[in-house]
C-alpha cells in the first residue's frame, strides 16, 4: 500500500483559475519525491491539498489507506499534525525566539490553554533542543527568529516540522529564497531526514541540478496537469522543453 495516494485531484480557485487538473499519483514510504514545473503550474497548490491547507475541488487524497479529502475538525488537525511542512519564506514567528518557534511544531498535540500559557512540557522542550541540534543550530535557541540568516531560519523551520515527528514532510520551494551554497546545506538536511529518519519527503524545486542530486523520483506539472512521472535521469532535453516551454534554458546550481 502506498503512503500517499492522490486520485483525480483538481482545484479551481474562486476566481476561476484551474490550478490543478485531474492529477493522480502514488508516493511510497521513504521516497524523496520532487515536483517541478514553472511558477503557477500548480506545485504549491498540490502540496497544500495534501495537508488540506487548500480544499481540493474534486478528487481524493488517501494517506495510509485513509481517505482524508473531506475530514474536518479534530481529525483534520490530527492529519495536519502528522505531516510536516516548510515554506519558501520560512514563515517563522519573527519576534519569538528560535526555541519557541520550534515548540510551535508541537501545537497539534498540546492542549490549547497550556500552549497559550506557554506551558510546554519539559519533554517537549528537550525534543525542541534535540531537533535544533539535528539541524545544526542548537546555539541559536534563545535568539530571536528574525535575527537569523535565511538558511538558519529554514533550519529552524525544519526543526519545527520535526517536532511533529512527521511521516511525511512537505517542502514548498524550500531553497527558492536562499543563495546557492545555503541551498545545498538546506537540501542536505532534508536528505538526511529522508535517509536517516525514514521520513518521506515531497519537495517543490526549481533547479534541475538539485533535482538530479536529491530526488529519487520526479513529477512535473504544466498548467496544472501532470506531464511527467519518472526518474530524475529520464528528464532529457526534450522533456525539459515539454515541461518548461521551448524558450527555457537550464540553469545549474552548484
Amino acid at each position: 500500500m502506498p503512503l500517499l495516494s492522490v486520485r483525480n485531484l483538481s482545484h479551481t480557485y474562486p476566481n476561476g483559475h484551474h490550478a490543478l487538473k485531474n492529477v493522480s499519483f502514488d508516493v511510497e514510504a521513504g521516497e524523496f519525491l520532487v515536483i517541478i514545473g514553472l511558477s503557477g503550474s500548480g506545485k504549491s497548490t498540490l502540496l497544500r491539498c495534501v495537508n488540506r491547507l487548500i480544499e481540493p475541488t474534486s478528487g481524493t487524497i488517501i494517506l495510509n489507506g485513509k481517505d482524508v479529502t473531506r475530514i474536518d475538525g479534530e481529525s483534520l488537525r490530527k492529519h495536519r499534525a502528522s505531516i510536516g511542512m516548510i515554506f519558501q519564506h520560512f514563515n517563522l514567528i519573527a519576534r519569538h525566539s528560535v526555541v519557541q518557534n520550534v515548540l510551535y511544531g508541537a501545537l497539534g498535540d498540546t492542549p490549547t490553554w497550556k500552549s497559550i500559557g506557554g506551558a510546554f512540557s519539559a519533554q517537549q522542550r528537550e525534543r525542541a533542543l534535540k531537533n535544533l541540534s539535528i539541524t545544526g543550530i542548537p546555539e541559536k535557541a534563545n535568539n530571536r527568529a528574525d535575527s537569523l540568516s535565511g538558511g538558519q531560519q529554514q533550519r529552524v523551520a525544519i526543526a519545527r516540522a520535526l517536532m511533529q515527528e512527521p511521516q511525511l514532510l512537505l517542502a514548498d520551494e524550500p531553497v527558492a529564497s536562499l543563495d546557492p551554497a545555503t541551498s545545498h546545506s538546506v537540501m542536505r538536511y532534508l536528505d538526511r531526514i529522508n535517509k536517516e529518519m525514514h521520513t518521506t519527503v515531497i519537495c517543490n524545486l526549481h533547479f534541475l541540478s538539485l533535482v538530479r542530486e536529491y530526488a529519487t523520483r520526479v513529477l512535473a506539472l504544466r498548467g496544472g496537469e501532470l506531464v511527467f512521472d519518472g526518474m530524475p535521469d529520464a528528464i532529457t532535453e526534450d522533456w525539459f522543453k515539454a515541461i518548461y516551454g521551448d524558450d527555457a534554458v537550464q540553469v545549474e546550481i552548484r
Binding site: 497544500r48 495537508n51 491547507l53 488537525r77 490530527k78 492529519h79 495536519r80 499534525a81 502528522s82 505531516i83 510536516g84 511542512m85 515554506f87 519564506h89 520560512f90 514563515n91 517563522l92 514567528i93 519573527a94 519576534r95 519569538h96 510551535y104 511544531g105 508541537a106 501545537l107 497539534g108 498535540d109 490549547t112 500552549s115 497559550i116 523551520a157 519545527r160 517536532m163 511533529q164 512537505l170
Partner: protein, 337 residues
C-alpha cells in the same frame, strides 16, 4: 448595470440635482436679489426643484451617463458626455462654495473693523497677561484630564483587543455566521465612532453626573470604537505565511490566532494605543467643557465669569501639556517602528 444599480444611480442623480436647485433657489438667488434670507419655500419653488431633478435624472438614464451612474459604476463616459458631466460637477462645486460663503456669514469687514480689532486686542491682552494665582488649581484640573484620558484608554484596550478579532474579515470569513457577526460589528463600530465623544459626554453627564467619570465614559465609548477599527485593520493586514505554517502543525483556530496573528499585531497595537491616549488627552479637554470635568470644565467656568487672565493661564497649561505629550508619544511610536 443591474436594475438595483440603475435605481441607485437614478436616486443619486435626483438628490444631486435637487441639491443644486435648492441651494440656487434658497440661498444664492435670494442673496443676489434681496440681500437677505428668503421667505419660506412656496409651491412654485418645490415644483421647480422636483421638475429639474426629474428632468436631469431621466436625461442621465436616457443617455446612460450621469454623475450618479459614474459614482455607482466607477467609470466615466467618453467625449462630450464626459465634459458635460465635468461641467455639472464644476457648477455644483462653485455653487457650494458660493452658498457656503453666504451661509457661514463670512465677513472680512467684521474681521478687520476697528471695533472688532479692539475686542481682539482686549482678549489677547488678557490672555497674554495670565493670572498665575490659579496655577495650582489649573494643574490639578489638568492632571484630572490626563488621568481621564489615560483611564479611558486603559479600560478600552482589552475590550477593543477582543472585539477587533471579531471585526477582522480574515478571522471571521471562515463561516457564514462569522461573516454576519463581522458585518454587524463593523456597522456598529462605525456608528459608535461617528457619534462624537462630546455627544457621549452630554449623555453621560446626565447619566452619572458632571465630572471626570462622565468624561471618561464618553471617551471609553469612542476609544473602543476607534481602537477596534484600527486593531482589526491591522489584523486584516497580517502576513499569511505564519498563519499557514502554524495551521500546518495541526494547531486549532485559537492557537493560530494566538501564535500566528497576535505576535504580528502587538507592536502596531501598542503604537495605535499610545497615539489614542495622546488624542484622548486633547478630547478630554474639549469634553470637560460640556461636563466631563478636568481642565475643560474649569475653562468654561472662568470663561463664563469673563476672567480672561485666568483663561489665559489655562490655555497656556493646556497647550504645554498637549505639546509635551505629543512629543513623547511621537518619540515612543518612532522607537516602536
Amino acid at each position: 448595470m443591474r436594475p438595483m444599480q440603475r435605481l441607485a444611480a437614478f436616486i443619486l442623480d435626483l438628490c444631486f440635482t435637487a441639491y443644486i436647485a435648492a441651494i440656487l433657489l434658497r440661498i444664492v438667488i435670494p442673496e443676489m436679489i434681496f440681500g437677505e434670507p428668503p421667505p419660506p419655500m412656496i409651491g412654485a419653488e418645490y415644483f421647480t426643484v422636483i421638475f429639474a431633478s426629474l428632468t436631469n435624472a431621466i436625461i442621465g438614464q436616457a443617455v446612460n451617463a450621469s454623475l450618479g451612474i459614474s459614482f455607482i459604476t466607477g467609470r466615466l463616459p467618453e467625449g462630450k458626455l464626459r465634459s458635460a458631466q465635468a461641467t455639472q460637477g464644476l457648477i455644483a462645486l462653485v455653487l457650494t462654495i458660493w452658498a457656503g460663503w453666504i451661509v457661514t456669514e463670512i465677513s472680512p469687514i467684521e474681521l478687520f473693523s476697528g471695533e472688532g480689532v479692539k475686542g481682539a486686542g482686549r482678549i489677547f491682552g488678557a490672555l497674554f497677561t495670565p493670572e498665575f494665582d490659579i496655577v495650582g488649581e489649573a494643574l490639578s484640573a489638568m492632571m484630572e484630564t490626563v488621568f481621564t484620558a489615560f483611564m479611558a484608554t486603559i479600560i478600552s484596550v482589552p475590550i477593543a483587543f477582543v472585539v477587533s478579532f471579531a471585526a477582522a474579515r480574515n478571522v471571521m470569513a471562515i463561516s457564514p455566521v462569522g461573516k454576519a457577526i463581522y458585518v454587524v460589528l463593523r456597522g456598529l463600530l462605525n456608528i459608535m465612532r461617528s457619534m462624537e465623544p462630546i455627544i457621549w459626554a452630554i449623555i453621560f453627564s446626565v447619566w452619572v453626573g458632571i465630572g471626570p467619570f462622565a468624561g471618561m465614559l464618553a471617551l471609553v465609548v469612542h476609544t473602543i470604537a476607534s481602537l477596534s477599527k484600527q486593531y482589526s485593520e491591522q489584523i486584516e493586514d497580517v502576513n499569511n505565511g505564519p498563519i499557514e505554517a502554524i495551521s500546518a502543525t495541526g494547531a486549532n483556530r485559537l492557537q493560530v490566532l494566538w501564535f500566528a496573528i497576535v505576535p504580528q499585531c502587538l507592536i502596531p497595537f501598542l503604537s495605535f494605543t499610545i497615539y489614542r491616549w495622546d488624542i484622548n488627552v486633547r478630547m478630554a479637554t474639549i469634553i470637560g467643557i460640556v461636563g466631563g470635568g478636568g481642565i475643560g470644565y474649569l475653562l468654561t467656568q472662568y470663561q463664563g465669569l469673563s476672567r480672561y487672565h485666568e483663561v489665559g493661564t489655562l490655555i497656556i497649561i493646556i497647550t504645554l501639556v498637549v505639546w509635551i505629550l505629543d512629543v513623547i508619544s511621537a518619540r515612543v511610536r518612532a522607537a516602536l517602528r
